[in-house]
Symmetry: C2
Subunit: 255 residues, 2 copies
Amino acid sequence: MRPLILVTNDDGGSAPGIRNLIDFMNEIGELVIVAPANPQSGMSHSITVRDPIRLKKIKTNNHHSEYECSGTPVDCVKLALDQILTRKPDLIVSGINHGSNASINVIYSGTVSAAIEGAIMSIPSVAFSILDYSWENDYSHYKKFVQSIVRNVLENGLPERICLNVNIPFIDAAQIKGIKICRQAIGYWDEEFEKRTDPSKSDYYWIKGLYKNCDAGEDTDEWALKNNYISVVPVTTDYTQHDSIVKLNKRPFHV
Amino acid sequence: MRPLILVTNDDGGSAPGIRNLIDFMNEIGELVIVAPANPQSGMSHSITVRDPIRLKKIKTNNHHSEYECSGTPVDCVKLALDQILTRKPDLIVSGINHGSNASINVIYSGTVSAAIEGAIMSIPSVAFSILDYSWENDYSHYKKFVQSIVRNVLENGLPERICLNVNIPFIDAAQIKGIKICRQAIGYWDEEFEKRTDPSKSDYYWIKGLYKNCDAGEDTDEWALKNNYISVVPVTTDYTQHDSIVKLNKRPFHV
């Protein structure tokens, strides 16, 4: 039996990134695609609790069925698991996202959150992103890298409640030096909101920022990407910073 | 000089939880309050990138100014830091959330994400939640606990890029045994979407789930709360699962 693969993303079902990923995965397994109806960039791990969620069937055949969901990437995963799939998938893949999800972007990313949701549900899950924003470019020459990672995960599984955050440098595939397991680089977005005035004289803001890298470590995803490697960060679903438990216990709270 | 405290939440500025938190913080510092205009439950770390963000001044005096923001809790923090505050705040507090943010809820929570955003920006930050959904209850008798945690953080700071996720059991304050530093319990939401049909005969879904705890550890937040302790989990902004780097390096990718 071919593996059952759930495919999603945050750019929506028509994005070239997910179309490429679907092509790559079609050679490996049976696919169920549940993608957001509208772009969901920056939606992180949000779920739709106050609005109804709509689900639209796009096409179905024996080895490939496709749906459009009005919600977030995490809604797509939850809805697929509860309402669409008849068995637990062997793998969840999310992406290929248009734009980097390295470093601190992991926290804001809807693409990675879909994979984190898979990890919470103990399903091997991988998020793919490419350092390119254009919808004009074709990513088919990265196929061998994406398929290699997916086949490795299908064969060996992943550590319990861990997913992979994969970023691909946007360079000629022949120049890619390999696949590197990394840690998330320390960094942040330095925001500078742009204030504008609408025709009825009310102010509004657009979010606008510059990424600041604070980490020169050669074991980071930012370093790997700058040095022509594909970066793979194992991402946890346990947000506890365990070392701090000991530190904080040394300074008791006085009530 | 009194410390400058930024206050936000995800239930919106009129929620009793944030009104109580504002009362508690007014005794400690100068306050700037930037709360969402509308409830933002389940918004996690999402940011508003595709819509304009509106900001409305509610009131301002010397020691207490208050704003309403159309965006998410993380938008509130980012907008406050860039557009409202004239200096870096000494502390960010978020909450008091109506409902638990223990265990896996940390990942879905807008309340905790506001504190995580503070940690990313190297500002000591604390998220408070209470295990009660009612908007009728008064939380003023938990004041001494909240103030004790805040004073401890103002005095000692927090480890770099770490924030605190505090949950309060909804029991008589006299029954609370103390404040316990914990790790996040392993658990997940078991979803069962409710399918309905609207008047124009289209289907839609409401998200609906049951929390499943998979962790009997006595060092977890779930255990602490069940045993009448306030739980405090140090939350990381580094989502790398470092132990897995070694494991994954033992199974090379073949391209």
